[in-house]
């Protein structure tokens, strides 16, 4: 799997397809912190949400790198579809982790905050960034070339899903009470926002863990479905 990950990172660099999503991310973070000072926890909550969208974008572009025949050859060499697809998604995750580091370090380095970042807040911020990028990656995998052939459906479907997931809180409020359960189907991109904004950052135990766990469970369910579907579409 290491060889596929290295191959994909190297190929992604050479393809220059990384440029649109990554430059967008760098600019968005830059613009977000253009006024100082900023509240630490709230800012990190917002940049996590930005990373969620960018990770999805990176995922679509990484999964479009290999032409179908090359994909078949790599699956033969690595010895299975699951290994191939997991390697590809791990490649995207590695890129997201680098972006997480940027989103985390940039405001500290240029003193954009109104206080200092404690270890607890730092860890929670990183966990939130990484788990939301995993969610973004797993959602985007469904709209990648592997499953969604047409580019219109691919980008259109992904954009719509992401917009709905970000609007989930508003949708929840707008729905009549007997339909509120539907919100559970929507990707839980904003589920960690409310607990984070209400958290004072002193004690990690004051924070509700369930939303974070739910994000990961939801992403793993999507991953399982993606691997099942990808096998069917491959053959």
């Amino acid at each position: 799997m290491k060889a596929v990950i290295k191959y994909s990172l190297h190929d992604y660099l050479r393809s220059h397809k990384y440029f649109p999503p990554i430059s967008t991310f760098i600019i968005l973070i830059f613009v977000y912190y253009s006024y100082t000072p900023n509240p630490i926890i709230d800012s990190y909550a917002v940049t996590s949400l930005i990373l969620y969208i960018i990770s999805a974008w990176v995922c679509i572009s990484v999964l479009s790198l290999d032409p179908p025949v090359q994909r078949q050859l790599m699956i033969l060499h690595i010895g299975g579809e699951n290994r191939y697809y997991l390697s590809k998604l791990i490649t995207v995750l590695l890129i997201s982790i680098i972006l997480t580091a940027y989103a985390f370090v940039y405001p500290i380095l240029f003193t954009m905050f109104n206080g200092s970042v404690t270890l607890t807040i730092g860890l929670v911020a990183i966990v939130n960034h990484v788990s939301l990028s995993i969610l973004g990656i797993c959602i985007a995998s469904f709209f990648s070339k592997i499953i969604t052939e047409s580019a219109v459906n691919s980008y259109g479907g992904l954009a719509l899903t992401i917009i709905i997931s970000i609007a989930a809180l508003g949708i929840y409020d707008a729905l009549p009470s007997y339909l509120k359960g539907i919100v559970w189907i929507i990707p839980p991109a904003t589920i960690t926002q409310t607990p984070l904004i209400n958290w004072d950052g002193d004690n990690v135990l004051d924070l509700s863990f369930f939303p974070f766990i739910w994000v990961i469970i939801y992403a793993l369910l999507l991953l399982y479905l993606f691997l099942k579907l990808a096998r069917r579409f491959q053959k």
């Binding site: 060889a3 190929d11 032409p67 078949q72 050859l73 033969l76 060499h77 053959k235």
Partner: protein, 283 residues
């Protein structure tokens, strides 16, 4: 013989088209097989299913050895690869779990044999069609596969590369690999292919291998016809002017010649003959 792959009642249906019907085929170790057929008869589909990269609509493909290494040369190797042949082959070899040291040496050797040394630092997307096809071949033989599947491997190859390929196929077979290939308008493989199958309208049939072979005509003296008649290698015996004309498959000619000599017979002439229709009927 040890089974390598077993196809059981394979069928493939694409939208409204039945490409393959109920095909059963057993591929054993250390064989060279060819699948022939016209355009669009489903040869490539069948090869992809044997390689395990396409799933049959019904039926089963079994690999008795689960750790089988399969090398596959696609009919059209992707032309927009952003790596140089050396980089690409090293990555592909690493994916199959080979060590870097082994690969560097093996890649150098194969690039040399296919005369790609001079191009190894150019990106594959910038190479000519033939050179790209060579890279496609090398990625499949890099790991000494148990089963090497070649889909029209000659397309775009120059004659040196074709000869190198035939030689490598022979070497791989010696090492115990099975080679499965398709080809068109060429007889370069005829001398090495042992079994030939023909695909037509989704059905497969085996062509008697004897018909595909080149035959040696051995003219010998001082050997009793009755003795020779019992040798199973011999396809046909004719007696004329105290001389025996023995028709023997190329592969067996050495064996027959040494037996003749052992019997103190003398050899008058050895020549290669092509089977004509009359001969085929006789055999």
């Amino acid at each position: 013989m040890d089974k390598l792959v077993e196809l059981k009642n394979i069928s493939k249906v694409y939208t409204n088209k039945n490409v393959l019907r109920n095909i059963s085929l057993t591929i054993n170790k250390k064989q060279i097989l060819a699948i022939l057929g016209g355009n669009g008869t489903g040869k490539s589909t069948l090869l992809r299913m044997i390689a395990g990269i396409e799933r049959p609509s019904s039926g089963k493909v079994n690999y008795p050895n689960k750790n089988i290494k399969i090398g596959y040369v696609p009919e059209r190797f992707p032309k927009n690869i952003r790596f140089t042949p050396s980089e690409y082959l090293l990555y592909m070899g690493r994916m199959s779990g080979n060590s870097k040291g082994y690969l560097i040496q093996k890649i150098d050797d194969l690039l040399h044999r296919f005369q790609l040394d001079g191009l190894k630092n150019q990106r594959i997307m910038e190479l000519s069609k033939g050179s790209i096809q060579k890279v496609g071949l090398i990625q499949a033989i890099l790991q000494n596969p148990n089963l090497l599947i070649l889909d029209e491997p000659l397309a775009g190859l120059d004659s040196e590369a074709q000869e190198a390929l035939v030689k490598i196929i022979g070497e791989l077979k010696q090492q115990g690999s099975t080679i499965l290939l398709t080809y068109h308008e060429s007889n370069i493989f005829e001398s090495i292919v042992e079994n030939t199958f023909y695909l037509d309208h989704g059905n497969i049939s085996e062509i008697e291998s004897i018909k595909k072979e080149t035959i040696k005509l051995l003219v010998v003296r001082n050997v009793e016809k009755s003795l020779v008649k019992g040798w199973e290698e011999i396809l046909q015996v004719e007696e004329k002017d105290k001389q025996l004309s023995l028709y023997v498959p190329v592969k067996e000619s050495d064996v027959v010649l040494s037996r003749v000599l052992q019997l103190k017979g003398s050899i008058e002439a050895v020549s290669t003959v092509k089977l004509d229709d009359d001969m085929e009927r006789m055999i």
